[in-house]
């Protein structure tokens, strides 16, 4: 959709802009973009957050308590969903959860007031797709390394009647293959939808106020009030989506680890 005069384009926030021209690799330009900047910001934020909580004090302070709440939360999730064998995946799922959480929340930061434009890394299918493919390949690698070809028994539930086996196999195989797509799509769309909604409402506020004080009071103020509510909802969505991604990853790893 082309940006017309005086029209606020809610999709502009998702544009990847080149900051530093990089080099070209096989005809593709590898550049340093605003997406990369915000990934680095998320990693740096995560690093500082973890550094403050890893002093291993005997009596934990506030910061260490927060970090330990998060690690304990993921540790419990792995223990509950996978069992004792799940603890070795806790570092991966923890990194995944925290990275998604931090990039979601940093994308919502109101630093636009200072002239910086926050970019939500997880609002791009390429980024969430890579995260989903990582989870999916761990499932495949663990499944085939641990159970060899017996891993295919995952697609035939116990007690399936013999004539039904080919159909069930196909259905289960399809539902297995759809997993990385649904994992990536869910996070990407949830973040994109929320941000578009916020920007559309922001456009209402700006355009109605420009049209006159009467419109500003009638349309702008209710829109702004709604924006505040939606922002709170978006914070909730940011946390829930990170949780759902980690939860589903742990469930998929459980399939690979224990079959069923």
């Amino acid at each position: 959709m082309a940006t017309e005069e005086g029209k606020i384009d809610p999709m502009y926030q998702f544009e990847v802009q080149t900051i530093l021209e990089g080099f070209s690799l096989g005809g593709q330009q590898i550049a340093f973009t605003n997406s990369a900047v915000w990934m680095l910001v998320a990693v740096a934020g995560l690093w500082i957050f973890m550094l403050g909580g890893m002093k291993r004090e005997l009596v934990p302070g506030r910061w260490q308590m927060i970090v330990e709440t998060f690690t304990g939360f993921i540790d419990n999730m792995m223990e509950a969903n996978i069992g004792p064998a799940g603890r070795k995946y806790a570092p991966y799922v923890f990194s995944l959860f925290m990275f998604i959480l931090f990039s979601n929340i940093f994308g919502l930061l109101p630093v636009g007031v200072l002239g910086l434009h926050p970019f939500t890394v997880t609002s791009h299918l390429t980024v969430t797709g890579v995260l989903a493919i990582m989870s999916f390949s761990i499932v495949l690698i663990v499944g085939f390394a641990k159970h060899k070809l017996h891993f295919f028994s995952l697609f035939i539930p116990h007690g399936t009647p013999l004539p039904m086996i080919p159909f069930i196999f196909i259905v289960e195989l399809l539902s297995f293959l759809v997993r990385p797509f649904s994992l990536a799509l869910r996070l990407f769309v949830a973040m994109t939808a929320g941000h578009i909604l916020l920007k559309v409402l922001a456009g209402f506020v700006i355009n109605s106020t420009n049209a006159g004080a009467g419109y500003g009071v009638l349309v702008g103020i209710p829109s702004f009030a709604l924006m505040i509510g939606i922002s709170a909802l978006e914070l909730l969505v940011a946390v829930v989506q990170a949780y759902v991604f980690a939860l589903l990853t742990s469930l998929y790893i459980n399939d690979a680890e224990n079959l069923h």
């Binding site: 959709m1 869910r186 829930v240 759902v244």
Partner: protein, 75 residues
């Protein structure tokens, strides 16, 4: 009908899917709350399943959103 108008109408119709997904998500949390209040001690253990149900119901609504976005920006 003009092709552009048909696209926008289709995108609007896809929004029905988002509304129906809202019914689904409400159903998931409503049923959870209903049974959690009957047996609060068992509620905490079912939180994982609650969010799996939520994720499944929500995904289908998000797919409706994807359809709308494809109609507006891609097709």
């Amino acid at each position: 009908m003009d092709a552009e108008a048909a696209k926008l109408l289709g995108a609007g119709l896809a929004a029905i899917g988002a509304g129906v997904a809202a019914v689904g998500v409400g159903n998931v949390f409503g049923s959870f709350l209903e049974s959690a209040l009957r047996n609060p001690s068992a509620a905490d253990g079912q939180q994982g399943r609650l969010f799996i149900g939520f994720a499944a119901a929500e995904l289908l609504g998000l797919l409706a959103f994807v359809v709308a976005m494809i109609l507006i920006f891609v097709a």
